[in-house]
């Protein structure tokens, strides 16, 4: 176990160091975060009108919801692009020869990237939200560890889903359509629309899908924390993390068996 952490910890550290080279990408990504929050505030201010609230969310809570949702959404790695590239070019055959588990090393690499992005996105999102609407109503520091844990679970779930889509390259020529649809499901069931805005029948269906647990769950806990919703959302988040991660490993094992190396 110690060896496992030492090996993949080194991969993670290397990924973090590599990511620091592209500082310009980081800065532009963060600028986008600020712009997105500003635009969302303008839109929902108009929607809320004189009522001052939308689907039970006050404007203050709604903007903090979007801040956490945008942070989770913008904290992305390139795991899917790496998988697509390696599988289509055949480089995966070389990767399989290396003294580590290919998929686990990609996860470690991606997690390194996510950690670095998160350390930048959280302070920028926090400052933007403070400037636009001020401190979160009813915030208590005791909620914070649960919110952070939920953010990590949401990120891990998104990561596993992206890996699963990337692994479909073993069978498909172009999987971008799967990614768009999966991404939009995550957007509509959490990022753009909190589940409370959806009709009751759709909300019922959505709660059975993994998508609300990527963005909605951490954003909901951050903006309107309650122990009830925490106990309702976080165990399912954890369950979906295990299911999608396990599924990705299963698909990888099946796909890796199809790899044939020729030459000498």
């Amino acid at each position: 176990m110690k060896r496992f952490f030492r090996k993949y910890g080194a991969v993670m550290r290397a990924a973090m160091q590599n990511s620091t080279i592209y500082t310009r990408n980081f800065i532009f990504g963060s600028l986008f975060l600020g712009l997105a929050l500003f635009l969302f505030l303008q839109l929902w201010e108009k929607v809320a009108g004189s009522r001052g609230q939308v689907a039970g969310y006050s404007l203050n809570r709604l903007l903090w919801y979007y801040t956490v949702a945008e942070i989770v959404m913008l904290t992305r790695s390139d795991i899917m692009e790496r998988l697509n590239g390696d599988i289509r070019s055949g480089d995966v055959a070389i990767q399989l020869l290396r003294p580590y588990h290919y998929l686990t090393s990609l996860f470690a690499d991606a997690f390194g990237q996510l950690l670095l992005r998160l350390t930048l996105n959280i302070p920028i999102g926090f400052v933007m939200a403070m400037v636009l609407v001020g401190p979160l109503e009813g915030f208590q520091p005791t909620h914070l560890p649960f919110v952070i844990l939920s953010i990590f679970l949401g990120l891990f779930l998104s990561l596993s889903m992206e890996a699963l889509i990337g692994l479909s390259s073993f069978w498909t020529e172009d999987n971008s359509a799967f990614y768009w649809i999966s991404q939009k499901l995550a957007f509509m069931l959490g990022l753009f629309l909190p589940l409370e805005m959806l009709p009751a029948w759709l909300r019922g269906i959505a709660l059975f899908l993994p998508y609300p647990y990527m963005i909605y769950a951490p954003a909901r806990l951050a903006s309107t924390f309650s122990w009830e919703s925490c106990l309702q959302l976080m165990p399912i988040q954890l369950l979906y993390c295990l299911v999608i991660f396990g599924l990705a490993h299963l698909v990888y094992r099946k796909g890796a068996k199809m790899v044939h190396a020729n030459g000498g």
Partner: protein, 214 residues
């Protein structure tokens, strides 16, 4: 011994050495050919601009046909991307529908108005990326050195590089735009005429805005 020989050897000029003279003649012919080619190109693009426009329109048309044939060759991939993009666009329709469920109108805009804007931007974006599929890949093409191939061809490299590829998923945007516009406008000929004019105008201005200096 050799070094001593080399040192003593006199410097030959064109007059004395027939080999050097031949080389000079060859260079002169090359330069003349190059000048002729440049003159021809200048004639083509500058003085005879009508001819140049026709030539480039034909280039775009030929690429369009070839790219479409290539799309048909990889039919499953083409359909997956196009249908996937259309479904992707439908999600935004759903988003705006939900927003307008919360509020009747936004700054004077109703659901149909926002959908008209969506239809128009999807049709413009779709047409642009169908005809000039490399529009978004120009940075990568320059970085990878692929641009060299286009610079060597006797056509405007800027038009050539953009039209060399068709973005299959853009068909999804394009078709979706027409279905959406039909759903909100029906057969109203005036609205359709405006929609088509603005689609083409948007396509042209979006294409031109990619040109350096515009």
């Amino acid at each position: 011994m050799r070094t001593a020989d080399k040192k003593q050897r006199p410097i030959m000029t064109g007059k004395e050495n027939p080999g050097v003279k031949k080389q000079q003649n060859r260079n002169a012919v090359k330069q003349e050919n190059r000048n002729a080619m440049l003159r021809e190109n200048r004639n083509l693009v500058g003085q005879n601009s009508k001819n140049a426009v026709n030539l480039h329109l034909r280039l775009i048309w030929d690429y369009f046909r070839t790219n479409l044939a290539s799309a048909m060759e990889y039919r499953v991939s083409f359909l997956t991307q196009a249908v996937g993009m259309a479904i992707n666009d439908v999600f935004f329709l759903f988003f705006w529908w939900m927003v307008f469920q919360q509020s009747g109108n936004l700054g004077g805009y109703g659901f149909r108005d926002v959908m008209s804007i969506w239809a128009l931007s999807a049709s413009t974006f779709g047409l642009l990326h169908i005809v000039f599929g490399n529009v978004r890949r120009l940075n990568a093409i320059v970085q990878s050195g692929e641009l060299d191939i286009f610079l060597l061809q006797p056509r405007d490299p800027f038009i050539h590089v953009h039209t060399a590829r068709m973005n299959f998923s853009a068909w999804g945007d394009f078709v979706y735009a027409f279905i959406l516009f039909f759903a909100i406008s029906g057969w109203n000929p005036g609205r359709w005429l405006l929609f088509l004019i603005f689609t083409i105008a948007g396509f042209q201005s979006a294409g031109l805005s990619r040109r350096p200096g515009h």
